[in-house]
């Protein structure tokens, strides 16, 4: 039995050798097939069998690898270290690799030492926040809607706000640390660095939400790997869409060609490595239903203003309840609550509360990202037209036009009388209001 400790140098040497992945595993497990200290003492790695790899992963092998990765010098490498490692592992038949989601693309080592802890906290806070939102979805069940929310809602609201606050604080702390650090993006302007962090955080959050949806549907294990893992034919058929959008196999300065089978096309992708539903943001959390929100339906429901009559000229001939869009309970609970607040205020459009609630909603929802604003507006529009008559809707619209400089936002060009256009109309109202308020 091997008794030596795993030496950092040995691991690094393993990776830098021509047979680096094998070298690494040998270092961890032992060329004679017996595990080194800190790893399981049974079995061996025979050709990188998946079973053994899973056992090693469970034993913390990859976590240990991750600890050592930052020590690998990368200054003169054209290819990022996470790319190289992933290639090495994949060439060895290993689909799993260290958490490349945590790399920054500049110098992993420096981020790890200077801001890594804050980023860990951010990951945890994000997980907690999303999990709390999911819990909210459960609480927004039909019975809760019918009989009211009661004390339970109040308690939940407090917990939700705390989770959100923790997340926002963690995000702010991390960004502040990065802003004051020379570790990430040194040499690049602050705006670029913050822009990078904002977009990365957005994607982390979006990915975690979709992970939760997969988990909630019970699909992660069944479909994730086979569908979008390496070689998954669902993914393969989607490649043309990704390429068309300029997303797939973006070569970097390392000269990687646009080859869909090239490992670089798969770096950083939990989906690719078969970890769909299990990325860093989702691990360790229990996710309830977190159904998808279409997001920018409002933005897509556009109609040329020239096609619309002037709403000020509309004479409402009849009052017809509109059943076009069921309210449903398939929306995120928090968004639902905020939309409800907004809708109540919107009924009194001249109230100062109108602007305040809307803005608070936007600010509260993760820094006012457009998609969430759109979600609020979509929900508002859907529920409003579900619960109100056309006459009321027209009155509201007209009132909004007068109170919100309607000429500027083009509300008067809409025709809410056309039943078939009601959803498009409401979505359009939402979109216009979102744009108006975002200015």
């Amino acid at each position: 039995m091997m008794s030596q400790e795993i030496k950092k140098e040995t691991l690094i040497e393993g990776f830098q050798s021509s047979d680096s992945a094998r070298g690494f595993l040998d270092a961890a497990v032992g060329a004679d097939g017996e595990a080194a200290a800190g790893f399981p003492q049974e079995g061996n790695v025979d050709g990188g069998s998946q079973k053994e790899l899973e056992r090693l992963e469970a034993a913390g092998l990859f976590q240990k690898l991750e600890e050592y990765v930052p020590e690998v010098p990368v200054a003169n490498e054209m290819i990022p270290i996470n790319v190289r490692i992933s290639r090495e592992l994949e060439s060895y038949g290993i689909k799993k690799y260290p958490d490349v989601n945590r790399t920054v693309g500049f110098d992993v080592r420096e981020e790890k030492s200077e801001t890594g802890e804050l980023r860990d906290r951010l990951d945890a806070a994000r997980r907690a926040y999303i999990a709390k939102c999911d819990t909210g979805q459960e609480k927004s069940s039909l019975l809760m809607r019918i009989f009211g929310f009661g004390a339970d809602l109040g308690r939940f609201n407090a917990e939700l706000q705390e989770a959100k606050s923790n997340y926002e604080k963690a995000l702010e702390a991390y960004k502040d640390a990065v802003a004051g650090s020379s570790a990430i993006g040194n040499g690049y302007d602050a705006e670029s660095r913050m822009g990078f962090l904002d977009k990365r955080e957005y994607l982390d959050f979006a990915g975690a939400k979709d992970d939760a949806r997969l988990e909630a549907g019970g699909w992660s294990e069944k479909f994730g790997d086979k569908a979008v893992g390496s070689g998954g034919n669902f993914k393969n058929f989607l490649i043309k869409y990704l390429r068309e959008a300029g997303l797939y196999a973006v070569g970097s300065g390392d000269g990687v060609q646009n080859d869909v089978n090239h490992p670089s096309a798969q770096i950083g992708s939990d989906a690719d490595d078969g970890n769909v539903g299990k990325n860093s943001a989702a691990n360790g959390s229990e996710y309830a239903v977190y159904p998808g929100i279409s997001g920018n339906e409002a933005a897509s429901a556009t109609t040329s203003p020239s096609e619309m009559p002037d709403v000020s000229e509309i004479q409402v001939a009849e009052v017809t309840p509109i059943e076009a869009v069921p309210a449903g309970n398939e929306f995120d609970f928090e968004i639902d609550m905020l939309a409800q607040q907004y809708r109540e205020s919107a009924k009194n459009v001249h109230s100062p509360e109108y602007a305040k609630v809307y803005n608070d909603s936007v600010v509260a929802l993760l820094g006012g990202r457009g998609v969430l604003m759109g979600e609020i507006m979509d929900r508002n529009a859907q529920e409003y037209i579900h619960e109100n008559t056309q006459s009321d809707t027209v009155k509201l619209l007209d009132s909004l036009r007068k109170s919100l400089a309607g000429d500027a936002i083009g509300l008067k060009k809409l025709d809410p009388r056309a039943d078939e256009d009601m959803f498009a109309w409401s979505a359009r109202v939402a979109d216009m209001m979102r744009k108006r308020w975002s200015k």
């Binding site: 500049f106 549907g217 979008v228 070569g251 998808g292 897509s300």
Partner: protein, 96 residues
Amino acid sequence: MNTQIQNDTIREFGLENLPADSQEELIAKMTEVVLKRMLVETLEKLSPIDQELFGGMLENQAGPDEIENFLKENIHNYDELLRKIISELKMEVKNA
């Protein structure tokens, strides 16, 4: 070397001032999210029976064309759905 459309995407996201590996990281992350979203939206639109069939196709390593045909037969405007997922996410990231 990036294709023109890839360069356009990078510019569209305002990433042109970032180092190449950071551009790559963000694009890779976005690809990941797009794929996940496409998968979950696909599954949500399939009936339980069709989900089973879809799972069986994946299990049996059905070809990309076969999978595509199956999904397009069973999900209304599937092609449009996929393009919408991409365009919406691109817009979201652009505004993030």
